[in-house]
């Protein structure tokens, strides 16, 4: 599975979901996580920070002759490799966009690695820009997330429309395999209403809901996703269930 985690807005738990789903998937096989967000938050979730442009995805996109395996951080945690981002990715994306190579850039970069990994997880930034499209084009499946904020549900719908549009343009064949609640406030009326509206829509709402938990922000202190730092906690168990559900949905949808 090549999974891009997308949303059209930030602050909805996308990077936390990407990090934890990737960590959970590493129970099933070798995983590469790719940070396609210039804010480089995914690497930080694992305690990895690129030293400079050349040490990151940005450097690889700048120089197609560069050897991608030398930039990848191997076994950041057992079974999981990481390709970090760097703030210069913003400039690199703008340059590639101007030259027309942005959309397929990440897909071209990852092609030689496909045989090395069972799963690749790409984290994107909270928008539907060209850089997000480049990540989606490298993926075969897409996961989007929402919270109790109605705007985040609209963001999920916009991701669905975005994918539909770019499938029509033949930029990508990636499929939206799931819409997941990344911060479930079980006592909040808004959360129930937002989930209810998504349930009544035709979007592929996943059953697993990640409970709101203080363990998630705390996990950043130990530089490990909660799936690894507190594996027995309810929130970690929920992320593991989400990874399994996403994997099952992808296997069901994709040939």
């Amino acid at each position: 599975m090549r999974l891009a985690v997308c949303s059209s807005k930030g602050g909805v738990g996308k990077t936390t979901t990407a990090a934890n789903v990737a960590a959970a998937l590493s129970r099933h096989g070798r995983v590469l996580v790719v940070d396609v967000d210039p804010q480089d938050s995914l690497g930080r979730a694992f305690g990895v920070v690129a030293k400079g442009r050349e040490d990151s995805l940005a450097g690889l996109l700048d120089d197609p002759a560069a050897e991608v395996r030398t930039v990848i951080r191997h076994d950041v945690v057992p079974g999981l490799d990481l390709l970090p981002a760097h703030p210069s990715l913003e400039t690199t994306a703008a340059e590639l966009s101007a030259s027309g190579g942005l959309v397929t850039s990440v897909r071209r970069l990852l092609r030689p690695l496909l045989g090395d990994y069972d799963h690749i997880v790409l984290d994107t930034r909270g928008d539907l820009s060209g850089l997000t499209l480049a990540a989606v084009c490298a993926a075969d499946s897409v996961l989007t997330v929402f919270t109790s904020d109605p705007g985040s549900a609209l963001g999920a719908a916009r991701v669905a429309a975005f994918l539909e549009q770019h499938r029509a343009y033949e930029n990508t064949s990636a499929v939206l395999v799931g819409v997941a609640c990344a911060v479930w406030d079980q006592h909040g009326g808004a959360a129930r209403q937002v989930a209810g509206a998504l349930h009544r829509s035709d979007l592929p709402l996943l059953e697993t809901r990640i409970p709101m938990s203080r363990r998630v922000p705390t996990s950043t202190l130990v530089k490990l996703p909660v799936v690894l730092s507190q594996p027995a906690s309810p929130v970690a168990q929920a992320f593991m269930a989400l990874a399994d559900e996403v994997l099952a949905a992808t296997e069901r949808i994709l040939p």
Binding site: P150, L154, A157, R158, A161, Q193, V194, A197, D202
Partner: protein, 110 residues
């Protein structure tokens, strides 16, 4: 400082969930809302003078006769106008205008 009351907020009488669902459907048109493509029909037209067809042809390849239309009725919108009836330009016919509606009836022969 007082609130600007010149542009009142649009009232949404539905429930929160109904309103959000409507917004979701607007943001990402759902499959049920999409126009359904017409089923392909395999057919050939025959001149009206050709002999009648046997009834033994499979349904999908049944040949159909197409009779050219003889009358065209067209309804369109227009800037508001007083009621008026006049002869149509082009093919013979009549045109009725009333308010925002124009109704054109044309005889195409046949």
């Amino acid at each position: 400082m007082t609130a600007d009351r010149s542009r009142p907020a649009v009232e949404r009488p539905g429930s929160f969930q109904d309103d959000l669902l409507a917004d979701l459907r607007q943001a990402a048109p759902m499959p049920a809302d999409r126009p359904v493509a017409p089923r392909p029909v395999i057919a050939r037209t025959l001149p009206l003078s050709s002999p009648p067809l046997p009834d033994t042809l499979p349904v999908l390849v049944r040949e159909v006769r197409v009779t050219p239309p003889t009358i065209e009725l067209r309804l369109s919108s227009q800037p508001w106008s007083m009621p008026a009836l006049r002869r149509r330009q082009g093919p013979p016919g009549l045109e009725l205008s009333a308010g925002p509606i124009r109704l054109a009836l044309a005889y195409l022969g046949g």
